[in-house]
C-alpha cells in the first residue's frame, strides 16, 4: 500500500488559491484547514506567480478529428487537481492599494486582468479580497463596486477582511472560508456534471475515454465527499475496464493487459478504501472477491505470467493491509452462520492474515513463473538484448522508450518482446523470497494468535520452503522440524512426507549424516495414503524434493541409506554425498518412546516371570518391529539391562560366517537376524540376574551395515504406546509376543528377590505380662547357614489395638510416662568384656530400640533379653527385625537381608484390691450424717470418732499364675499416723502368702480415728508381690503395688448403742438382753425405744418406753428373754429413737441374731476363746 502515491491513498481535499498579501496567508491557510471538511490552500505571494495556475495549452487543431487517446489515465491528473488546479482563486488587495493612488489602482486592475486571463477556459471561480485595517472607513462604496465590475463577480464574492479588530477579523475570515467552500462545491459539482454529461451522451470516441471520464467524475465526487456517487462511477469504470481487455487493440496484448491491470488496481483501491472507511466491511470483502474473481484467470502469455502473479499478490497484500489499518471487526448484524446461504463470507476473510497468506502464496507463484520465464528467455535472448532507456510513460501502466536523436527526444512505444525482456530484467533484480517469508511470517503470527495452528504451520512450512529455496538450510530445517511435529501428531502422512523430503535435503546440504539417516528412515517407514498411488515424481515444485510418496520411492530412500552406510556412491553428484571415509566411527540413532523413529525400529521386551530369585535363570523375550519397506539385515543385537552382568549380544549368523576371525563376545548367540516389514522378530533368551533388586531392560542396540547403531529404548508390551502414524492404517496388528498374556501384560522390568535369610530369630514369651513387673522377653538369633555381619536388631513396640503410639498424645505432653516401656536389653551370651562395646551401639527409647548383634558364623547363636515394663494393662505388638549382611564389604552392605518376627503380649493387672469397713459388733454409734443425707455421702464411708472400726482389705489374684504376696500394709502419711491409729490385726504369718489364680487374700485392720474430719485420708495400701515361680529370686523381683484408700468421714456419734447378749442361748433357759445407750454429749438426751415381739422368744419388760439420759452417762435397758425355738434366732427387734435428733437406730439383723442350742453344749474349747474380742466372728 505504501507503494501507492500519496494522492491515491488519501481522500482528496478541495483546493483554493490566493494571490497577493503574503503576510496574511498563514492565517488564512490555518483557517481553511481547520474547516470541516478541510481545504487546501495554494498560496501565491504575488500576481507574477499566478501563471502557474495557467493551463498547459495544447496546440490542438480544433478541427482535426479527435485523436484516439494514448492511454487510459494520466498519471499526474489526480495530483494536478489536488495541488495545482484550484476550485477558486482569490485576489487579495490591501485597501490602500485600490484607493488613493491612481497608479496603484491601475496596477491592481491589470493584476486582476492577468489573473482573469490565467483562469480563463477553466471553470475556476474568482474572489476578490480586500484587506482593511479597521471596520468601516478607508474604502468607499465606489471602489468596491468598481473592483467588482473589473473582476466581474457577484457582490458576495468580494470579501472584506478586517485586520486589526480581532472580532471583525474572525468574522470576515469565516465569511471568506464559507465563500470558498460554496465556490468549491459549485466548482467540483460543475466539473463533475460536465464530464458526466459526456458519459451520458456517450460523447466519446473510445472506451479509454469512457473509463477516464468515470474516474474523473468519481474523483470530483470525492472532492465533494459524495461517496455514493464516487463509488458508483469507480465501479462503472472498472466494469468497462474489464470489458476492454478483450476488445482494445491500441496496445500489443501484453502491455494492454498490464495497463488494464494497473488501472484496475487504482480503481479497486479507491473502491475498497471508500467502502472500508465507510464501515462497509462486508461490502468491501464482497467487492474484493468479485475483483479477484474477474482477474484471477487473466494471466496473459506464459512469459509474463509472473507479472500477473505479482500484481495478483499485491491485490491481496494491499487489501490485507487495508483491513488491518481500518481494524475491522465482524459486524454484529451479520448472520453468525458463516459460509452458508445466510452469510456467504467466512471468518477468515475478516482477518488480514488470510490475505497475507494468499499474497505470499501468489508471490511464490510469481517466483515460479519468473524462474520459468527466465530460463526460457535466457535461451532465446541473444541479439536484441535488453531495450535501453525504458521508462514509465505519462499514462498509468504504460512503458515507453526514450529515443534521443541529437537534441530531440522522442518517445517510442515498445513492442511486446521488448517489454517482456524489460519486465523480466526488472523483476530479476528483486529477491522475492524474503518478501514471501515476511508475508508468511506475518500470516503465521496472526494465525497463531487466532489459534489456527494448522494454518499457522502451513505458513511456517511456506516460510521454510522459501528459506530452502534461498539456500538458508539451517533456518529451513528448524521451521520444517516445527511443522513436522503437527503432521506426525495428526497423522497426515502425505504432508509429513513432503516435509521430511525437504528436511532430508536440508540435512544433506548441511552435511549432517545422522539427521539425513533419521529423516530418510522415517520417510521410508511412513504409511502411504491409499489415494496417492501414482504420481508424477518429476514435478518437484509441487511435491517437494521427495517427489510423491509411493512404495517404490520409500524403497529407494531406504536403499539410499544402506548405500551410504556401505559406502557405495550410487548417485553421480558426488559432491553432495557424505564423505564416509572421514567418518570412521559409527552413527548412533537413539529411539525413545516419543521419537518419531519408533516407526522405524521398535523394541519390546518382556520377562516371562513376575519375580525371580537371584542366580536362577529366567526367560526374556525381545521383539523387534520395523515399518521399513525392505527387509533389514541386523549385524548384531545387543540387549542392555541395568545390571550389566545380564547384558547379552546376539550376532547374526551370516555376519558371523563372513567375519569369523573377528572377536566374538563370549556368550554371544548366533541367529539369523533379518527384520521383515511390519513383522515382529521375536527372540527369547535366558538371563540370570546376580543381584537382588530391580532388573530392567534399558535398551536394545541394533547394528546395521556396521556403521549404523540404532539404540531403541526397550518398551514393555503392557505400556507400549501406539504408533501415531500407523495406528490409523487398516491392517492387522501383530502382537509383539507369541504368548497372548505376555503380549498384553509383559513387563520390561522384573523384581529380583532377596536371597532367603538363613537365620532364625526366636522370640519367647512366657505368658502375659503383669503390670508393674519387669517383664523379660528372650530373643535368640540362630544362624543356620549365613554368617551374620553387622547385624542389627530393631525392636519396636506398638499398641496392638492400633494407633501405634503407646500413649495418648495428651499424656505425651503432660508427662514422660508411657503405658508400656522398653527398659533395656540384657545380654546373655556376651558377658565377657565385650559388653561395653555392644552397649555403645544400643539405642533404647521408650518404644523403640536398636541393638547391634555381634558377628555370628554359621551355627552360632546369640541371645539377649528385652526388659519391658507395663504401667497399665494393655496389649502390645512387639516387633523385632534383624537386618544383616552376608559379609563385611561395602558392596554387601547395600544388600542387607532382613528377618522379621512379631509377637503380641498381653499386659495384665496382677491383683485387684477391695476394701470394706465394719463397725464393732453389736455396737452402733448414731452417725447423724448417715441419717441426714443418704444419697450424697454414700460413697464415702463414715467412721465413728474414737471407736475402733474394722477395715478388711482383700487382694484378688486376677492372673493365671499363682502369686506370692509378701506384705500388705497401710502406709499413712504423717498426719494420718497421729490422728488415726491403724493396726494390723491379722496379716501374713510366714514370709509370704501364695494366692492361687482367682483367689483372694484378706487382711484385717483396726482403724481408730482420733479426730473428727469430714474427709480423712487414711493412707495407701501397699502390696508387695512376686510371681510364685520365681523361686530364689532376690528382693528385686518383688513388685510393690500401691493403691490409695478412699477418704472417710469421721464424726462423733451423740449416742452409742451397745447390745449385750450372751454368745449363745439355750432353749428354755432365760437370759438377759441389755441395751446400753451412752450419751456422749453434754446435753440431756431423751430417747424412746420400742421392742417388737418375736415368736421365738418371750420376754419381760416394756414394749415401749422412754427414758432420759444425763450427759456422759449410760442408760441400760434390760429385758429378760426366754428362747422358745432353737437355731439361729432373731432377737426381738429393738428400735431406739432419739427425740432430739429424731433419729431411730435399729441394730442390724446380724447383730440381733443369737444361736439357741437345744441343750447345754459341750465345748472342748480353750478358756481364752470366750474372752476374745466379741467382734471376731
Amino acid at each position: 500500500m505504501e507503494d501507492y502515491p500519496e494522492e491515491l491513498r488519501t481522500p482528496p481535499l478541495s483546493l483554493v488559491s490566493i494571490v497577493g498579501c503574503p503576510e496574511l496567508h498563514p492565517a488564512i491557510s490555518a483557517a481553511l484547514s481547520s474547516r470541516q471538511p478541510p481545504m487546501n490552500l495554494l498560496a501565491l505571494p504575488d500576481f507574477s506567480k499566478a501563471s502557474i495556475l495557467a493551463r498547459t495549452a495544447k496546440a490542438r487543431d480544433p478541427l482535426a478529428p479527435p485523436q484516439a487517446p494514448a492511454g487510459i489515465l494520466k498519471k499526474d491528473w489526480l495530483l494536478k487537481h489536488r495541488t495545482r488546479v484550484p476550485a477558486a482563486v482569490a485576489a487579495m488587495f490591501r485597501a490602500d492599494q485600490v484607493s488613493g493612488d491612481p497608479a496603484q489602482w491601475l496596477q491592481a486592475c491589470s493584476d486582476l486582468e492577468n489573473l482573469k486571463s490565467v483562469i480563463q477556459g477553466r471553470n475556476t471561480k474568482l474572489v476578490v479580497i480586500l484587506v482593511q485595517s479597521q471596520a468601516g472607513g478607508e474604502l468607499s462604496e465606489d471602489v468596491t463596486v468598481a473592483l467588482r465590475k473589473r473582476a466581474e463577480i457577484d457582490s458576495k464574492h468580494l470579501v472584506v477582511l478586517v485586520e486589526r479588530d480581532e472580532m471583525e477579523w474572525t468574522k470576515s475570515l469565516n465569511k471568506l472560508t464559507t465563500v470558498f467552500a460554496e465556490l468549491c462545491t459549485t466548482y467540483y459539482k460543475d466539473e463533475g456534471r460536465r464530464v458526466k454529461a459526456r458519459i451520458e451522451k456517450r460523447n466519446f470516441s473510445s472506451v479509454e475515454l469512457s473509463i477516464r471520464y468515470c474516474f474523473k467524475v468519481a474523483v470530483y465526487a470525492e472532492f465533494r465527499r459524495d461517496w455514493p456517487e464516487a463509488l458508483k462511477f469507480y465501479e462503472e469504470g472498472i466494469r468497462v475496464l474489464r470489458e476492454m481487455i478483450g476488445t482494445s487493440t491500441r496496445l500489443p496484448p501484453t502491455q494492454r493487459l498490464v495497463e488494464v491491470k494497473a488501472v484496475a488496481e487504482q480503481f479497486h483501491f479507491k473502491i475498497s478504501t471508500i467502502l472500508l472507511h465507510g464501515g462497509k466491511v462486508v461490502g468491501a470483502i464482497t467487492w474484493f472477491r468479485k475483483h479477484i474473481r474477474s482477474y484471477e484467470r487473466v494471466v496473459g502469455s506464459p512469459e509474463v505470467a509472473f507479472l500477473h502473479w505479482e500484481w495478483f499478490s499485491r491485490q491481496f497484500l494491499v487489501f490485507g493491509e487495508l483491513i488491518e489499518t481500518t481494524s475491522t471487526t465482524v459486524p454484529d448484524t451479520l448472520s453468525p452462520r458463516f459460509g452458508t446461504a445466510d452469510n456467504a463470507l467466512t471468518e477468515w476473510e475478516f482477518q488480514p492474515a488470510y490475505y497475507y497468506q494468499l499474497a505470499a502464496n501468489y508471490l511464490r507463484e510469481k517466483r515460479y513463473a519468473l524462474e520459468f520465464s527466465s530460463s526460457s528467455v535466457s535461451l532465446t535472448k541473444g541479439v536484441n538484448g535488453l531495450p535501453e532507456s525504458v521508462m514509465p510513460s505519462v499514462y498509468v501502466g504504460q512503458y515507453v522508450r526514450l529515443f534521443e536523436q541529437g537534441d530531440t527526444v522522442a518517445v517510442l512505444p515498445l513492442s511486446d518482446t521488448e517489454y517482456t525482456s524489460y519486465a523480466l530484467s526488472e523483476a530479476e533484480r528483486f529477491q522475492d523470497s524474503y518478501e514471501i517469508i515476511a508475508l508468511f511470517r506475518k500470516a503465521y503470527e496472526s494465525f497463531r494468535s487466532l489459534g489456527a495452528t494448522r494454518m499457522a504451520s502451513a505458513c511456517s512450512g511456506g516460510m521454510a520452503i522459501e528459506y530452502y529455496a534461498a539456500g538458508d538450510f539451517s533456518n529451513a530445517k528448524q521451521l520444517f522440524d516445527g511443522v513436522a511435529g503437527l503432521y506426525r501428531q495428526e497423522g497426515w502422512a502425505t504432508l509429513l512426507w513432503e516435509n521430511l523430503g525437504y528436511l532430508r535435503e536440508c540435512a544433506r546440504k548441511l552435511k549432517s549424516l545422522k539427521d539425513f539417516i533419521s529423516y530418510s528412515l522415517e520417510m521410508a517407514a511412513l504409511p502411504l495414503f491409499s489415494g496417492s498411488g501414482q504420481g508424477n515424481s518429476e514435478n518437484k515444485r509441487k511435491n517437494g524434493p521427495a517427489g510423491s510418496p509411493t512404495i517404490s520411492s520409500r524403497e529407494l530412500i531406504q536403499q539410499e541409506v544402506i548405500n551410504i552406510l556401505e559406502g557405495k556412491h550410487a548417485s553421480e553428484n558426488t559432491d553432495d554425498e557424505f564423505d564416509l571415509h572421514l567418518m570412521e566411527e559409527s552413527t548412533h540413532l537413539d529411539i525413545d518412546q516419543i521419537s518419531p523413529l519408533r516407526i522405524v525400529f521398535l523394541a519390546s521386551v518382556a520377562f516371562h516371570d513376575q519375580s525371580v530369585k537371584p542366580d536362577s535363570p529366567m526367560l526374556v523375550s525381545v521383539s523387534l518391529q520395523s515399518h521399513l519397506p525392505c527387509p533389514v539385515m541386523i549385524d548384531k543385537l545387543e540387549v542392555q539391562f541395568n545390571q550389566s552382568d545380564c547384558n547379552f549380544v546376539i550376532v547374526s549368523a551370516q555376519e558371523d560366517c563372513s567375519a569369523s576371525n573377528s572377536h566374538v563376545h563370549d556368550g554371544a548367540v548366533q541367529t539369523p537376524l533379518t527384520l521383515f516389514t511390519d513383522k515382529w522378530m521375536r527372540l527369547t533368551h535366558e538371563v540370570k540376574p546376580g543381584q537382588s533388586g530391580k532388573l530392567e531392560c534399558l535398551a536394545v542396540k541394533a547394528t546395521i551395515s556396521k556403521r549404523l547403531v540404532v539404540c531403541c529404548q526397550a518398551e514393555s508390551p503392557v505400556s507400549m504406546g501406539e504408533f501415531s502414524l500407523w495406528k490409523f492404517e487398516d491392517q492387522v496388528e501383530a502382537l509383539p509376543m507369541k504368548d497372548n498374556v505376555l503380549a498384553f501384560s509383559g513387563q520390561k522390568l522384573i523384581q529380583v528377590e532377596e536371597p532367603d535369610a538363613q537365620v532364625d530369630l526366636v522370640l519367647d514369651c512366657p505368658g502375659p505380662a503383669l503390670v508393674g513387673e519387669l517383664f523379660t522377653v528372650p530373643v535368640t538369633i540362630l544362624s543356620k547357614g549365613h554368617t551374620v555381619h553387622s547385624g542389627e536388631l530393631k525392636i519396636n513396640l506398638v499398641d496392638a489395638k492400633g494407633g501405634g503410639l503407646l500413649m495418648s498424645p495428651r499424656e505425651a505432653e503432660e508427662s514422660e510416662s508411657h503405658h508400656v516401656e522398653l527398659l533395656g536389653v540384657s545380654d546373655v551370651t556376651t558377658e565377657n568384656g565385650s559388653k561395653e562395646e555392644v552397649d555403645s551401639i544400643r539405642k533404647i527409647q521408650h518404644s523403640f530400640g536398636v541393638v547391634s548383634v555381634p558377628t555370628l558364623y554359621a551355627g552360632d547363636s546369640w541371645s539377649c533379653k528385652l526388659e519391658i515394663k507395663w504401667h497399665q494393662a494393655m496389649s502390645v505388638m512387639f516387633y523385632v527385625s534383624l537386618g544383616y549382611s552376608l559379609d563385611s564389604t561395602e558392596e554387601a552392605a547395600l544388600h542387607r537381608l532382613n528377618v522379621h518376627r512379631s509377637l503380641q503380649i498381653e499386659g495384665k493387672i496382677p491383683m485387684i484390691v477391695s476394701q470394706q469397713f465394719l463397725r464393732p459388733f453389736r455396737r452402733e454409734p448414731l452417725l447423724l450424717s448417715r441419717i441426714r443425707s443418704s444419697s450424697d455421702d454414700d460413697k464415702k464411708s463414715s467412721l465413728a470418732f474414737n471407736e475402733s472400726n474394722m477395715l478388711i482389705l482383700s487382694a484378688r489374684n486376677c492372673t493365671e499364675v499363682p502369686l506370692r504376696l509378701h506384705t500388705m500394709t497401710i502406709v499413712s502419711n504423717d498426719d494420718g499416723k497421729q490422728l488415726c491409729s491403724v493396726q494390723q490385726i491379722s496379716g501374713i504369718s510366714n514370709e509370704y502368702a501364695v494366692i492361687a489364680p482367682s483367689e483372694e487374700y484378706k487382711g484385717i485392720f483396726s482403724v481408730n480415728p482420733h479426730t473428727i474430719s469430714p474427709s480423712f485420708f487414711l493412707g495407701e495400701i501397699c502390696l508387695s508381690w512376686s510371681r510364685d515361680s520365681s523361686i530364689g529370686e532376690s528382693q528385686d523381683s518383688r513388685v510393690i503395688m500401691k493403691e490409695r484408700l478412699p477418704e472417710v468421714h469421721i464424726e462423733e456419734p451423740p449416742l452409742v448403742v451397745t447390745m449385750e447378749c450372751p454368745p449363745y442361748a439355750i432353749l428354755g433357759i432365760p437370759f438377759t438382753f441389755h441395751v446400753k445407750i451412752y450419751n456422749s454429749t453434754s446435753l440431756l438426751q431423751e430417747i424412746k425405744y420400742s421392742l417388737v415381739d418375736s415368736q421365738n422368744f418371750v420376754f419381760s419388760g416394756a414394749h415401749n418406753h422412754a427414758a432420759s439420759i444425763l450427759p456422759k452417762t449410760e442408760h441400760i435397758v434390760s429385758h429378760k428373754l426366754v428362747p422358745l425355738g432353737s437355731g439361729s434366732q432373731q432377737l426381738p427387734r429393738i428400735t431406739i429413737t432419739s427425740v432430739r435428733y429424731s433419729a431411730a437406730l435399729t441394730p442390724s439383723a446380724s447383730a440381733a441374731t443369737v444361736f439357741v442350742y437345744p441343750s447345754e453344749p459341750k465345748f472342748n474349747l480353750e478358756k481364752g476363746y470366750s474372752s476374745t474380742d466379741p467382734c471376731v466372728s
Binding site: 452458508t340 489459534g451 495428526e490 502425505t494 513432503e498 514435478n539 490409523f728 492404517e729
Partner: protein
C-alpha cells in the same frame, strides 16, 4: 467440479482423501484440507455463534483459497467431511445434497463388519461410490 473429498477422524487424522484432478496437486489439496480443520474447530468450538445451528451437520463454506472453495460437514459421530471444489458458484443445496449422499456412503462403508472404526477407509467400493457422487455433483440430478 469437485477436486477433492476427505474424511477426517476424531484426532484430526485423515481417514480418506481422494483428489479428482488431472493436475498433480494432490499435495496442495492435502494442505487445503488440513488447514480447513482450523475453521471447523473454530465453528464447532464456538457454540455461541452457531446457536441456531445446533443440529446442523452442514458447516458451509469453510474458506475460499486460491481457486478452491472448501466446504465442511460434521457427522453426529464427530467425523468431518471436507469437500474442495473449483466451482465459482456453489449452491448451498447442492453442497448439502452432496454431503448427504457422501454421508450415506460413509455410513455404509464403516458398517462393514471388517472395518475397524477409527482406521483408514480402504474400501474400493466406497471409492467407486464416492467417484459417482462426485461426478454427479451439480449436474442438476441431485434430487
Amino acid at each position: 467440479m469437485i477436486v477433492c473429498v476427505a474424511v477426517v477422524g476424531h484426532q484430526n487424522n485423515p481417514l480418506y482423501l481422494q483428489s479428482f484432478t488431472e493436475a498433480d496437486d494432490a499435495l496442495k489439496l492435502h494442505h487445503v484440507v488440513h488447514c480447513s480443520l482450523d475453521v471447523i474447530d473454530e465453528r464447532v468450538n464456538n457454540p455461541k455463534r452457531n446457536a441456531p445451528a445446533l443440529n446442523e451437520t452442514f458447516l458451509g463454506l469453510l474458506y475460499p483459497t486460491e481457486n478452491y472453495k472448501v466446504y465442511g460437514y460434521l457427522t453426529n459421530t464427530k467425523v468431518k467431511f471436507i469437500m474442495v471444489t473449483t466451482d465459482l458458484d456453489v449452491k448451498d443445496a447442492d453442497a448439502r445434497n452432496f454431503f448427504r449422499k457422501f454421508h450415506a456412503a460413509y455410513v455404509d462403508a464403516v458398517s462393514n463388519p471388517f472395518h475397524v472404526p477409527g482406521k483408514k477407509i480402504a474400501s474400493r467400493s466406497f471409492g467407486a461410490r464416492v467417484s459417482t457422487i462426485v461426478k454427479s455433483f451439480g449436474s442438476g440430478t441431485t434430487a
